[in-house]
């Protein structure tokens, strides 16, 4: 037994971990006992935990072929490895989450989104097909339009084990990003700026949710891949040097409370506001600022932390976001990182995104945060929103089931027998 957790270190559960190196290993596991597949453990909560059998897929990480931007690879390969292999050849993932340390299988299962959801959609947009092992050990190849494909993208590993997939990468002329940053002083201004930037390839805002004087202040970052002519002559087009990692010790979180948190937030805003404007940023710091800190998840101490991420439909977003932010400010729980993004429409059956705004924050795992998050649940539901399973560690079943898609998903799993074979601590908790 191994004590396992997601990236948030909460909850921690003893699991029997089995490692797969080839298709036969997966088949053996699938036929042996109920299980959940696990990628690189970057989901925050309990989505990739099953005490009876957790199938570690990171040993299946082979890239099988590459032609004209089309990559066939095994599910355990990391986005970081894909970038390392193909960015120097002028290719970059079409969609990437805020860390490159996710597996291909994890990106598909959570149907992850990036800063470009409003133009490019979720990870699904780049997936041509997926090979999935079902409960009988048979492998089927599913493609967009197939029912099983549509449930698998966003299905959190609950439709079978993803073995391989073909994805399309995007051609890029350089590894640099032209970034335009704007300092804004209210939520309304921020939303207006997002709407005005709907054709910016990438957009994301960091927003102050504390109860300090700068509540609602934000830094909006717009970006696009730099073309050759955007680069100074002496700049190498492709810079792939891996950044060194700054280790983070346990126990720093004491710094991140109350007044200190307000100060950090406003200092950050002032610093960024002063530097607002155009800059050329390298791919790694632009897309993956947190990857530069090794194990930053330990910042919150051994009890871990919980992310809260919801999405609100476009028309309800201004009011809903204001209420969410007010509730957070009032609780004085704050959040070091509060991130706001604009989504385009939903695509797969059960994926998280919908046209509107998504807000993500983290809180230390404690009673007060849990109480606060229940309040945030209510506000989200009252505004027609829903929650991201890849970040969830604590939702009540009733909250999850308020999303009508959850019942349909659960019913499909029951009818087909999938529910009896593929299960996680999360799926049991939420009745999926």
């Amino acid at each position: 037994m191994t004590e396992l957790s997601g990236w948030g270190l909460f909850p921690q559960i003893d699991c029997r971990v089995v490692r797969a190196r080839c298709e036969d290993d997966v088949r053996k596991a699938v036929l042996a006992a109920p299980l959940i597949a696990r990628g690189n453990g970057r989901a925050y909560g309990d989505a990739a935990l099953n005490p009876g059998q957790t199938l570690d897929m990171t040993g299946m990480d082979r890239m099988l072929s590459f032609k004209d931007g089309m990559l066939v690879a095994e599910a355990g390969v990391l986005l970081a490895d894909i970038i390392h292999a193909f960015l120097p050849r002028g290719w970059f993932p079409l969609v990437t989450p805020g860390t490159k340390m996710v597996s291909l299988g994890g990106a598909i299962a959570a149907d992850v989104h990036g800063k470009n959801h409003h133009v490019d959609g979720s990870f699904r947009s780049c997936v041509d097909w997926v090979e999935l092992m079902g409960m009988d050990g048979e492998v089927s190849r599913v493609a967009p339009g197939d029912e099983l494909f549509e449930w698998t993208l966003g299905g959190m590993g609950l439709t079978g084990v993803i073995l391989r997939a073909q994805i399309r990468l995007r051609p890029v002329e350089s590894s640099w990003i032209v970034q335009d940053s704007k300092a804004l002083t209210s939520l309304t201004e921020t939303i207006d700026a997002f709407e005005a930037a709907m054709d910016a390839p990438y957009s994301v805002a960091w927003i102050d949710c504390t109860d300090g004087p700068q509540h609602g202040h934000s830094i909006l970052l717009l970006g696009r891949h730099a073309r050759s002519e955007d680069l100074p002559a002496d700049r190498p087009k492709f810079n792939l040097q891996r950044r060194g990692k700054i280790p983070v010790p346990f126990g720093m979180p004491l710094l991140f409370k109350g007044r200190a948190l307000q100060l950090i937030n406003s200092a950050y805003w002032r610093l960024k506001a002063r530097r607002a404007g155009r800059a050329l940023v390298d791919w790694d710091s632009y897309f993956y600022p947190l990857d530069g800190l090794a194990n930053w998840n330990k910042l919150y101490g051994r009890n871990g932390f919980i992310q809260f991420q919801c999405v609100l439909p476009r028309d309800m977003a201004p009011d809903g976001l204001a209420k969410l932010m007010a509730a957070i400010a009032e609780s004085k729980q704050g959040s070091v990182l509060s991130v706001l993004k604009r989504f385009g429409p939903q695509t797969s059956h059960f994926s998280f995104p919908m046209a509107g705004y998504t807000l993500a924050m983290d809180f230390p795992a404690n009673e007060r945060s849990l109480a606060l998050m229940e309040q945030l649940d209510k506000i989200t539901l009252a505004h027609g929103g829903r929650f991201y399973l890849a970040k969830d560690a604590r939702m009540a079943q009733a909250v999850a089931k308020a999303d009508p898609r959850a019942e349909t998903f659960a019913a499909m799993r029951k009818e087909t027998g999938l529910a009896a074979r593929f299960a996680s601590v999360q799926s049991e908790r939420l009745g999926l």
Binding site: R19, R21, G59, R62, M63, L64, D81, A85
Partner: protein, 244 residues
């Protein structure tokens, strides 16, 4: 340096990591193992990631009669040959059944020594090359809990040392690799102390570095050098009472 690199026993976790280290450095790779068809996906992986040429070859360490033909049949005599062949077995089985013990001895000593002997002669004739043998710290001193495996590794370590001694004047270098615990299938389900346990990737990187720098003996995770120095020097009367 970018000549072909042969990896013997290529299906193991360590071998896969070693192949990636050399593939990333731009070497064509020759993968050799039993049931070579299961190496296909690894071959495609190396070719896709690093754009290097990869071939796969049928090779059985225990069939020593086939080794001369195997070496002669390679598309090119490798610049570097790395032997990752080995089998841990279980000590209890080896104790109960000396025939089983012999299989472990053959897989860890006789087979590897045989194939490296053929490669050594060919490299000696050419006047250049590097041979890498992956042995084990278990060969540094026999312990009750795995002395059959350990004794074979001890034999292999001594063989590599002698080979290095003989070939150093002929332009051929020999690297002895002594891994401690490595997170591989071999150790699945066995708890090992984290500071002493290396990832296969660390071993891969260490071997690439040792080949380039012509190091003689490397312990992957350098603390093992100190750990084994202590273990080797415990006086026998004391050692026999321990259960390390």
């Amino acid at each position: 340096m970018s000549g072909p690199v042969l990896i013997l026993g290529a299906a193991s976790d360590i071998a896969r990591a070693v192949a990636r280290s050399f593939g990333e450095a731009g070497h064509p790779i020759q993968l050799a193992a039993r049931n070579a068809e299961r190496l296909e996906d690894d071959a495609r992986d190396l070719a896709t990631r690093y754009g290097v040429e990869v071939t796969t070859h049928e090779f059985d360490a225990l069939e020593t009669d086939s080794h001369a033909g195997f070496v002669a049949g390679l598309p090119a005599l490798p610049e570097v040959a790395i032997c990752a062949v080995g089998a841990m077995g279980t000590q209890t089985k080896s104790e109960a059944d000396p025939q089983a013990a012999i299989q472990i001895m053959r897989a860890n000593y006789e087979g590897p020594a045989s194939v490296l002997a053929h490669l050594a002669n060919a490299m000696e004739a050419r006047g250049s090359g590097t041979l890498v043998g992956i042995s084990s710290v278990a060969g540094d001193r026999g312990r009750a809990s795995n002395y059959v495996y350990g004794s074979a590794k001890a034999g292999f370590t001594a063989f590599l040392s002698g080979l290095r001694n003989r070939l150093s004047k002929q332009g051929v270098h020999v690297v002895t690799v002594l891994p401690g615990f490595v997170k591989t299938a071999m150790l699945e389900g066995i708890e090992t102390p984290a500071p002493l346990t290396a990832e296969p990737e660390e071993v891969g990187a260490a071997i690439l570095k040792a080949v380039r720098r012509k190091t003689n003996v490397i312990y992957t995770r350098p603390v093992w050098r100190a750990v084994m120095a202590v273990i080797r020097n415990i006086p026998e009367p004391v050692f026999k009472k321990t259960s390390i």
